[in-house]
């Protein structure tokens, strides 16, 4: 029974990682950059939702929508101000800028909300479900998280496969210049990608803090790094890969926490990542890279 309970919490944590990883992977696929500030957008989303529900007493669903709107705007602004001027710069320059943005968000949050941890109240309205006469308790947060994750996955896949904008995104990720020649507005497409990624980050932030209710300005950084790992694990740039990577990472983390060692669980997660990359250098579902001379 503990096995199933661990599996459920693993899938639930993994779903949060997967939602964050989707943001990483979409941005990487299109802009070819590692957006290290993504983890901090999660934190901003969680704080906005926290403020909306605590100080304005708005219902949870409204607070989530507000958080999504704020994060979407934030994502577009960050992209426009910090990343767009560096479109053709070296990837290292963009990486350092992203780190700068990450520092900026963390310290701005520190100034606005202070360093004292805030207790996030869960946004989920119903109680946990006991199964097998209470032998197995499925928390309401994990149900909502998994369902949210599946819905997001389906919507995103449909969006990128069927809609005009989605097709434009895929074209830009294949070849930016060719896409521009075909009449796709590359800048707008990249902005939309950042907007979607940041909106997802807001959802992830709220779900993460519902399950682990401590909120500080650095809340987002570790889940951010792990979700980034998950994106690489599944093959960065691939949407199903991010999903698979995230869920596997969550399961591995929870299992190593409960069966091997709490302190070493992060080390085990990263060790598995290294093993996978050594066997499949582009991740589980990643595209094969061809080398041009």
């Amino acid at each position: 029974m503990t096995f199933i309970s661990n599996l459920i919490s693993g899938i639930s944590l993994g779903s949060v990682y997967a939602i964050i990883a989707l943001g990483y992977t979409m941005v990487y696929g299109i802009a070819k950059m590692l957006n290290f500030a993504h983890g901090d957008v999660i934190m901003v989303g969680a704080y906005i939702s926290f403020c909306a529900s605590t100080y304005l007493h708005l219902p949870p669903i409204v607070s989530i929508v507000i958080a999504m709107i704020v994060c979407t705007i934030l994502g577009i602004v960050i992209e426009g101000l910090a990343y767009r001027p560096l479109r053709r710069a070296s990837s290292l320059a963009v990486l350092i800028t992203a780190i700068g943005v990450s520092y900026f968000l963390q310290n701005a949050a520190l100034l606005i909300w202070g360093s004292t941890p805030m207790t996030f109240s869960s946004v989920v309205g119903f109680d946990s479900i006991p199964l097998f006469d209470g032998g197995l308790i499925v928390t309401s947060e994990s149900i909502v998280t998994v369902i949210a994750c599946i819905i997001i996955m389906i919507c995103l896949t449909l969006f990128t496969q069927k809609t005009r904008i989605g097709k434009g995104m895929r074209a830009v990720s294949e070849d930016k210049d060719a896409a521009e020649l075909m009449g796709i507005n590359v800048n707008v497409t990249i902005s939309i990608t950042f907007a979607i990624g940041s909106a997802l980050a807001a959802i992830a932030g709220v779900l993460l803090c519902s399950a682990y209710p401590i909120l500080t300005p650095t809340t987002g950084s570790m889940p951010g790094i792990k979700a980034f790992t998950a994106a690489v694990f599944g093959g960065i740039g691939s949407i199903p890969g991010a999903m698979l990577g995230g869920i596997l990472l969550g399961i591995i983390e929870i299992f190593s926490k409960s069966y091997i060692s709490t302190e070493l669980s992060d080390a085990i997660v990263f060790a598995v990542l290294i093993l996978v990359l050594l066997i499949k250098p582009t991740g589980l579902l990643g595209k094969k890279m061809t080398e041009k001379v």
């Binding site: 001027p85 800028t97 790094i225 980034f228």
Partner: protein
């Protein structure tokens, strides 16, 4: 006089940069020591001198990986950590054997360097097979693994020797021994051995190693690999061997910097050497200029001191730091500023040519 001038002109480019690098460090050392002796430097800054030296060595060593080898490493603090704790343990073990502080520091720094080098070898073999962003994420992963493992490491010493365990200090089964490394609490009771002079000597050593490495046959092979791996391979340069050499040299220097850093405090925890520290050093290297050693030294000093200098703005200082970082990156890398720079350069060179021609006519 003219003879000296012509001699200087005859020195090649590399020697000149070398002399420039060494003299900057030595002049800075003399100036700071003098100021310190006359009590012109306040305590908050003089306390930062050794950490700055350690970070300069770190930045020089990371510049070897990022600037000359061309591989992005996000886990460089891991090597610093390995070196730091190996050095602390060595110093603690030798406390009774070697009474001289300086000698003990040297032995610890060497030991830290060796252990970090071994870590570099173990990590380098798998990591250097990967490319680009994948390599970066694996170095990040290794950095986190090292942090996690040291966080669970318990080391103590008693009359029967060194005890190492991973569960708790009681499980080591020591009888009235001394605790060196206490898991998440880190290394405790370190005898402070580092000094500013030792730091500067280590910087000069690191400069010596890196500058000579870069200008050696191996170093040229490494830069060839950075510029075009496939072309380098086709003229018979073995990728793995040269990449690994550069990576290990870089790791050894990072380990030595770690010892210097740790020996400046009475206690040190593994969490200090996390992802953020790796990133901090990477920022120093990128802003200093990749492959530019002098730039790295200056950038490290300025950026490390910036939060200190902004201390009066207290809460806002890290925010200002972040904004400065973003602005510098935008100004140095965006297309528009590049165009403006080119135009200015074009005008300047045109003027110069014009002047030269005018001068020529006069004669």
């Amino acid at each position: 006089m003219s003879r000296i001038n012509s001699k200087i002109r005859n020195l090649n480019k590399f020697t000149l940069t070398n002399i420039e690098s060494y003299s900057i460090v030595i002049v800075a050392y003399i100036v700071i020591s003098l100021l310190n002796n006359f009590g012109k430097i306040n305590n908050s800054i003089s306390g930062q001198l050794v950490p700055i030296c350690a970070y300069i060595v770190m930045a020089i060593s990371l510049n070897l990986t990022v600037g000359f080898l061309g591989e992005l490493s996000l886990g460089h603090a891991g090597f610093m950590s390995v070196g730091a704790f190996a050095g602390v343990i060595t110093a603690s073990c030798l406390q009774d054997v070697i009474p001289s502080d300086i000698l003990r520091l040297i032995v610890s720094i060497i030991s830290g360097g060796i252990f970090a080098g071994i870590a570099g070898l173990i990590i380098g073999i798998p990591v250097l097979r990967l490319r680009g962003d994948y390599l970066a994420i694996v170095t990040l992963a290794f950095g986190e693994i090292i942090k996690n493992i040291i966080n669970c490491l318990y080391v103590g010493i008693d009359t029967s020797g060194l005890h190492i365990g991973m569960t708790s200090i009681e499980a080591l089964g020591m009888t009235n021994g001394r605790i060196i490394l206490n898991g998440p609490q880190g290394a405790v009771g370190i005898t402070k051995l580092s000094s500013f002079t030792a730091g500067v000597i280590l910087i000069i050593f690191a400069l010596f190693v890196v500058l000579n490495f870069v200008n050696s046959k191996t170093g040229r092979a490494v830069t060839a690999i950075r510029d075009n791996a496939i072309a380098a391979e086709s003229v018979g340069i073995g990728l793995t061997r040269y990449k690994l050499t550069a990576f290990i040299v870089s790791a050894v220097l990072a380990g030595m910097a770690g010892v210097l850093y740790a020996m400046n405090f009475s206690s040190i925890v593994a969490k200090k050497f996390d992802f953020n520290t790796s990133i901090l050093i990477l920022v120093f290297v990128v802003l200093g200029g990749m492959g530019n050693i002098v730039g790295t030294i200056i950038a490290t000093t300025v950026l490390y001191m910036l939060p200190e200098l902004l201390r009066e703005y207290a809460d806002y200082r890290m925010l200002i730091y972040a904004i400065v970082l973003i602005l510098v990156m935008l100004l140095t890398n965006s297309e528009k500023t590049k165009q403006i720079k080119e135009q200015i350069m074009l005008k300047l060179t045109r003027n110069k040519k014009y002047e030269e021609r005018e001068g020529g006519n006069n004669v």
